[in-house]
Symmetry: C2
Subunit: 340 residues, 2 copies
């Protein structure tokens, strides 16, 4: 069997390889969703009309390694990831979360309780409630420690997709980029970085609510830049909205530690995973209002307008470095596996 | 660290040990669910009131080993398990399923496609639709092949819980018991059993619909006898309904091959997992009507009344062997790990 006939790590890394695998193998699973967002949309979740509302649904498995990292752990990640995916569809009040745990035989009970406590804390911060669950145990060596799956559902009157950009819209990122991925990478490899490199993992549904309240229908696209980072989000926005995207590199909020780690590792913070951020597309007339609302929230103080959608080069992302422009290639996948 | 401080295989086996782990570690995660079924109910899923309807939600991870077994595979299991859990709450028309896949690096693409095809087939049989998903890849040796998580949601006007039995109610099983667990066990251990030992894995939402249509409000309790088998279900019914349960052993439908395998392995088919069956509690006056409706359905031909709830010995399960009565002890857990 050739390598092409086998699943590789790149297929789980949030970039082109993963999209191809999903398109080629899994998309056939989804039947048509009338008047809604189904599997084929490859959005953060699904939206199904029930009466005059939308039920939004999302799922993610969490396999992050190491399980505990500066700024968070797999428990906090599992709740934040789920709540944030719902919020990215416009559903900022989770009605219920499910939690399925797969544990390796011999896993320390004390670690399990720490993870549980983190989940509980993130539930409190977001107003989420775990309503049902499942527990499986696999034998020693059959799974690496613990895997957490969360699925969530929520109800909303308006769905925000990834496809709403048109030329002229502004792009806002809700804070500094690359913190999560860099914190996990440097911890995993024992790199010694000056300063306080911490994951940004947090539920941001209330921050997103503030943006939606400020911008109303002028908020036209949202996505959380997890695997593949802000770069992947911008590629999805450009492709689905059939617009070009120009990013002003100098405007990107990046913490000094992340910049230093990125230079050491040769990794652009634009392609690094975040777990407490959103990229938001807003009609130009409401951009400053949305920005102000974000900055007024503790989780949005470093929010910035980072670029705009343009009519030229539909489907492409251009970085304006201040000295010139370059095309941002879509990456094959996140630089490291098991980042979330 | 002592063994008591670590998670063991028994903690995932559907019996007392698992219930204790969930009670001690995870129940704290669930906030109160007003006017609904939340985590604390430890039912097949959750039910949350939205307007004049209930949104029902469920989740399960599937880790069955081997992935392909006589009568089915992990793909068919993942859809059936999810659809059946919804149906057990009274929600027989799944509105949407999520599917999260975790794949080991190097997993053969061809197997992935076979699993996808089985999922698709089970979706067709049940009318379910996968609306959103997630793909993760773990490194070689970090997960054993593939793990599938499904979560589902559905809407219903009436929720059927595990707690509705009262003295006098009849207990119906929708078909022969123990097929799934015995098929997986004998395949895993390469046992040579005479005859055609096949898993019963199937979505039974339409069968359950037939029972609900026939019995209406007289259908008062439902649960699918997966890990821990029919015995576990009866213990839950007895405990949650605060009744005794008497099972007529001679009335239990058991295929000859399962009986033979059970005798060879020393395992009572009552404690073995099923993946296409339900145990249904019905008010006595409607029991024959429900039984007839089940038997009229292709998946319910072997349905049988297997016992009744009684006022004596609340919380306990008594087996009437035809020669005498014995208490059925609640097992510590399913005899084999990774049965589903």
């Amino acid at each position: 069997m050739s390598a092409a006939d086998r699943v590789g790590l790149r297929h789980g890394a949030g970039g082109r390889a993963m999209r191809r695998l999903i398109e080629e193998v899994f998309l056939g699973l989804g039947g048509p969703v009338e008047d809604g967002v189904g599997l084929a949309a490859m959005d953060d979740g699904a939206a199904i009309r029930v009466g005059d509302q939308w039920v939004v649904m999302t799922t993610d498995s969490h396999v992050v390694h190491p399980r505990f990292f500066p700024g968070g752990d797999i428990g906090r990640l599992s709740i934040s990831g789920c709540v944030n995916d719902l919020a990215m569809m416009g559903a900022t009040e989770p009605l219920g979360l499910t939690c399925a745990v797969i544990i390796e035989e011999g896993f320390p009970r004390e670690e399990l309780e720490r993870i549980r406590d983190s989940m509980q804390q993130a539930c409190r911060e977001s107003g989420a409630n775990i309503v049902t669950g499942d527990t499986k145990v696999m034998g020693k060596g059959e799974v690496d420690g613990i895997v957490l799956n969360t699925a969530g559902f929520a109800v909303t009157r308006r769905v925000v997709t990834d496809a709403g950009l048109r030329a002229g819209d502004k792009l806002i990122v809700t804070g500094a980029i690359g913190d999560h991925g860099m914190a996990v990478m440097t911890r995993r490899h024992g790199l010694d970085i000056e300063g306080d490199l911490r994951s940004d993992v947090a539920p941001i549904n209330r921050l997103v609510r503030a943006a939606l309240d400020a911008g109303g229908d002028d908020v036209v696209a949202m996505k959380d830049p997890t695997r593949g980072g802000v770069a992947s989000v911008l590629h999805e926005f450009a492709e689905k909205g059939k617009v070009g995207v120009v990013v002003d590199e100098q405007s990107l909020p990046v913490h000094a530690e992340v910049r230093a780690a990125g230079e050491m590792l040769g990794i652009d913070p634009l392609v690094v995973a975040n777990e407490g951020k959103a990229v938001i597309g807003v009609r130009a007339g409401s951009a400053e209002k949305v920005l102000a609302a974000l900055r007024a929230h503790p989780l949005g103080r470093e929010a910035a307008i980072i670029g705009a959608a343009v009519a030229e080069r539909p489907g492409q992302v251009i970085v304006d470095t201040g000295f010139g422009r370059r095309l941002l290639a879509e990456i094959e996948g996140e630089p490291l596996p098991r980042i979330c």
